[in-house]
Subunit: 162 residues, 2 copies
């Protein structure tokens, strides 16, 4: 599999999971959290799918396409581990959907970061909220959801908060 | 169409065109030229598709994944307009396939660059060579080829050198 194949796999998996998740939260109130803005591709996709939901973005340093930069008031700038703990109070409502795209390309560091994020995420999730993640997340409250058709196991992950 | 949709469209079009081109040059001797290395995704795909062909890469400044950096002797480093004129003499054989991914995201500049590249490319192409390009290229010697199934017109371009 070439890096081109791999990139296509990754982006189509992201899209399939986000499309599924957007439909799955139709009956659930609450904002969306995007952890990791990157170049803004998935942020743009989420706001297209969910035009009436507020999307709060967490990013260390913004480096996105100019048309994919969230408004200042929706941006939590800094290290996830520092911005997440106070986020629930600022946002004021439990999230219906979280998309965590926090992998750095280095496996051990990405797994460690995901493990550190999980306990900070749980308190900001609504009951029944959907968590879509590029990294596996483990917590008794998070129930894995079968992946949409065409998404290879392990390529992306979806959980439902109990 | 979100930026995620657009990225998927672009990468799947690239892959479909490169896959088609690799098969189309099966009976034609000659190296491959990659204009624009970027992060090395399509270079990686080309060397996977065509493991016995030498791939010469043209790039202003290398900024690719470490495992997608061509050997020094296959790299023409600098502005296309400066490196292409002498390339044929160095390479020593007309190219069977060129992949030109030279767009910069700014339309007018990309079109102007493509127009400047065409006359420099023609002398290094074998008769019957395939040119795959992210920009439209116009020259009487270049005959447009119907795009592979699923590639939207205008998204990518394929020509056969007469």
């Amino acid at each position: 599999m070439s890096r081109l194949d791999s990139a296509i796999d990754r982006l189509t998996a992201q899209r399939a999971c986000l499309d599924w998740a957007a439909a799955a939260i139709a009956g659930l109130a609450g904002p969306v959290l995007e952890l990791g803005l990157g170049n803004g591709r998935t942020y743009d996709h989420l706001r297209t799918l969910l035009p009436t939901r507020r999307i709060h973005v967490f990013e260390r340093q913004v480096n996105a396409h100019l048309d994919c930069i969230p408004p200042d008031e929706d941006l939590f700038l800094g290290d996830f581990l520092e911005t997440l703990p106070g986020a629930g109070r600022v946002i004021g409502a439990p999230a219906a959907l979280v998309h965590a795209d926090t992998g750095t390309g280095e496996k051990a560091a990405s797994v460690a970061l995901a493990a550190a994020i999980v306990p900070l995420l749980l308190p900001v999730l609504a009951s029944g909220a959907v968590l879509v993640s590029d990294q596996p997340m483990q917590h008794p409250g998070l129930v894995p959801v079968p992946l949409p058709h065409g998404v290879k196991p392990g390529r992306y992950h979806i959980y439902r908060n109990s």
